[in-house]
């Protein structure tokens, strides 16, 4: 008993952070799983609309935004009460979105309609609809918020949309089926994952936001067919040192030196690893594993998987708030 108390005390001492909450969207069971990021226990599950996929939170952590793809709306939940507070118009089949750092507006990829919809989160109205390539999915926003990048899965382009006039200013061809776009915190680089191409395109971003495709990162894991190394979700640490890339059916997260672009390691996680999210302190990286119906917790400092937590059916996205 004494030993138990001691180890609990140690554990508490070792993690003096405030308990946060991870919200996981489960696209098959139509619900959201809430996990305490201190105890890593599931504390609640609530209905998230039909086919919840993209998930993000307001800058103050009070509101949770969920793309309810089959309802053709964005559902907004209170992160304390888990009640739906209102909905936002999103255009048809919203899949993934990115929120302006100020909390307004929301830039939404409409997968079925080849559009990016811009929705005002306060007036709850649509500000603009921007025609993009076929099957828009990935959404990233530059550090200065002057550009939103959308990737279109069948057109195979990254479209750079000005947030001032909503015009596409640049189109960059990338490899097959681009899934996700992730800027570095300083805005000087952009990473675009290509699921079927099996690569991550690396772009240097000029002061004025102009992209320059400079490299492509490939992957190789002995014993895994190269066909299954399919880059999907990606996150880069805020110091720009590490890039983590989810490799889908390879069931691994690649650890990449974000400067030298060298792949350093592969972390074994659950099956069909899809999207990633850091805890706000960047101590942990969470992965959604669509086929094993769980999430994996990766310790960022040691670059090891430390825990897996069962969630709903076909977990898709994850976001963490303090």
């Amino acid at each position: 008993m004494k030993a138990l108390i001691l180890s609990t005390a140690l554990a508490l001492a070792a993690t003096p952070v405030l308990a946060g909450k991870a919200f996981v969207s489960n696209e098959r069971s139509n619900d959201i799983t809430v996990i305490d990021t201190e105890t890593w226990e599931v504390i609640e599950t609530f209905h998230g609309g039909n086919r919840p996929r993209g998930i993000t939170a307001s800058p103050d952590g009070k509101l949770l935004y969920v793309c309810a793809s089959d309802d053709n709306i964005v559902r907004v939940f209170d992160t304390e009460t888990y009640k739906e507070v209102y909905t936002l118009p999103s255009g048809p089949d919203p899949e993934l979105f990115v929120l302006h750092p100020s909390g307004n507006p929301l830039y939404i990829a409409n997968e079925d309609d080849n559009l990016v919809t811009v929705t005002d989160t306060e007036t709850r109205t649509i500000l603009a609809e921007i025609p993009v390539g076929i099957e828009p999915e990935g959404m990233g926003i530059s550090a200065d918020a002057k550009y939103v990048v959308n990737t279109s899965e069948t057109t195979n382009m990254a479209h750079f949309i000005s947030t001032e006039d909503y015009e596409i200013k640049h189109n960059v061809l990338v490899d097959q089926r681009p899934r996700y776009a992730q800027y570095t915190a300083d805005g000087a680089r952009l990473f675009v994952t290509s699921e079927i191409g099996g690569t991550v395109s690396v772009m240097d971003i000029a002061e004025d936001g102009t992209p320059d495709l400079v490299d492509k990162i490939g992957f190789e894991v002995s014993g895994v067919l190269s066909e299954w190394l399919q880059p999907v979700g990606a996150k880069v640490t805020s110091d720009g040192a590490r890039l983590f890339v989810a490799l889908g059916p390879a069931n691994r997260v690649a650890v990449i030196d974000a400067q030298s672009l060298e792949v350093l390691d592969y972390i074994l996680v659950g099956q069909r690893v899809w999207q990633l999210s850091f805890t706000p302190d960047e101590k942990f990286l969470l992965t959604t594993n669509g086929n094993s119906n769980d999430i994996t917790v990766i310790d960022v400092a040691s670059e090891k998987a430390i825990k897996s937590i069962p969630v709903g059916q076909q977990p898709w996205g994850v976001v963490v708030v303090d």
Partner: protein, 395 residues
């Protein structure tokens, strides 16, 4: 050199405002020969009037959207013709300046039209004919195959059977040459993957009277008699390319066994219920545009024109030779809602692709199966491999 130039080109940042690339106009045609045939066993297999053409309409939309960012436009003409007017229809398209053709026709017609097109320097995509010879001794340099061969389809079924440990087969083959070509592919697949054909029968029973009010009664009585007295087997393999008996088999066998091949579990390139790997979006787009479910022919035509679109986008050319060279190069890759990129075999122009195993409702499995390995690509465990192919047109 060509490959090197392309690689450099691909690496260039295509900061492409419309017009940064060359303005290109990609013109293609789909030529479909409509043969006089009997009605299918199932009404679900009735041929829609826009079979194949619907895939072209979707491809034009998909390619056109990408093209709008690059200054490329796509226009595809569709022509349906009876067999006797096929040559004239081809001539008219060639005279109109079309040099990229997708053809839905039987092997002999396809070969004749392909050779005729070659005289005008045109490139042909085969979207229907499964005959293995077209990828072998009868291959043509200007003919690329989107449709899988009988051999690929049979290998896809065989791998699943082996995975299931259903190694003893009862092969039931039709009496028409097309059925026998399919049967030959299954015999070769059994040999290739280690299955045994313990019973090999020809199915000669004439077509049945299902459509009459009590036709099913006759089917129910006759088929068990046709399939009795066999050796012990795990599965029935139906080689019926002409659709006259395979659909009846599943519940009318003497010995209850699963059916695969032309009935029961069938190898297809696509079906309207396939959802994995983002295909739901493909289905939604197709249905919105056409008002019906997708058929394999639609998908094959769509994929042929997507190959063209990919070549135009990446290699900046609408020249038939340029498109062919790019498609056959190491640089080429294309996403096709099959979970991995599709590419071409540069020894016979066949598209490598996963094959869906479809029971009429869902994707039951996808071949190649786990554990079937190949030094180049697991996809090359399906169909004629490089050492087996006698095709020389691509050397």
């Amino acid at each position: 050199m060509r490959v090197l130039v392309m690689t450099l080109w691909a690496l260039c940042s295509l900061t492409a405002f419309a017009g940064a690339g060359l303005a290109l106009d990609a013109r293609a045609a789909v030529l479909r020969i409509d043969y006089p045939t009997l009605l299918p066993i199932s009404r679900y297999d009735l041929t829609p009037a826009d079979l194949g053409f619907a895939g072209a309409a979707l491809a034009d939309e998909d390619n056109g959207t990408t093209g709008s960012f690059l200054g490329h436009t796509y226009e595809t003409t569709t022509v349906a013709t009876p067999p006797e007017r096929a040559d004239a229809a081809l001539d008219a398209l060639i005279a109109d300046g079309v040099r990229i053709l997708v053809i839905l026709a039987r092997a002999d017609d396809l070969l004749r039209l392909t050779d005729r097109a070659a005289e005008a320097g045109a490139l042909v995509f085969n979207a229907a004919a499964p005959d293995t010879a077209l990828r072998d001794q009868a291959c043509r340099a200007n003919l690329l195959h989107i449709a899988p061969s009988h051999t690929m389809n049979a290998d896809a079924v065989a791998q699943f059977a082996i995975w299931k440990k259903w190694t003893d087969w009862f092969l039931l083959e039709g009496i028409n040459p097309a059925d026998q070509a399919m049967g030959a592919a299954f015999r070769a697949a059994a040999n290739k993957f280690g299955a045994r054909i313990v019973e090999d029968r020809s199915f000669a029973d004439p077509s049945r009277s299902r459509r009459t009010d009590s036709g099913h009664v006759l089917v129910q009585r006759q088929l068990p008699l046709d399939t009795q007295g066999t050796r012990e087997h795990d599965v029935v393999i139906a080689a019926d390319a002409t659709d006259y008996f395979a659909r009846y088999l599943s519940y009318h066998l003497w010995t209850p066994r699963p059916v695969m091949g032309a009935g029961g579990l069938r190898p297809v390139t696509m079906h309207g219920a396939h959802e994995a790997w983002g295909a739901t979006q493909y289905q939604t787009r197709f249905e919105e545009l056409t008002g019906r479910y997708v058929q394999p022919e639609d998908y094959n035509v769509w994929l042929a024109l997507r190959v063209v679109g990919e070549a135009v986008t990446r290699a900046n050319t609408v020249d038939p030779d340029g498109i062919r060279d790019y498609a056959l190069s190491d640089t080429f890759e294309l996403a096709a809602f099959k979970g991995q990129k599709v590419t071409f075999r540069d020894w016979n122009g066949q598209l490598r692709q996963p094959i869906l195993l479809y029971d009429g409702m869902i994707t039951v499995s996808v071949s190649p199966q786990d554990g079937f390995l190949h030094r180049t690509s697991p996809l090359d465990t399906l169909g004629l491999d490089r050492p087996e192919s006698t095709c020389t047109a691509f050397n």
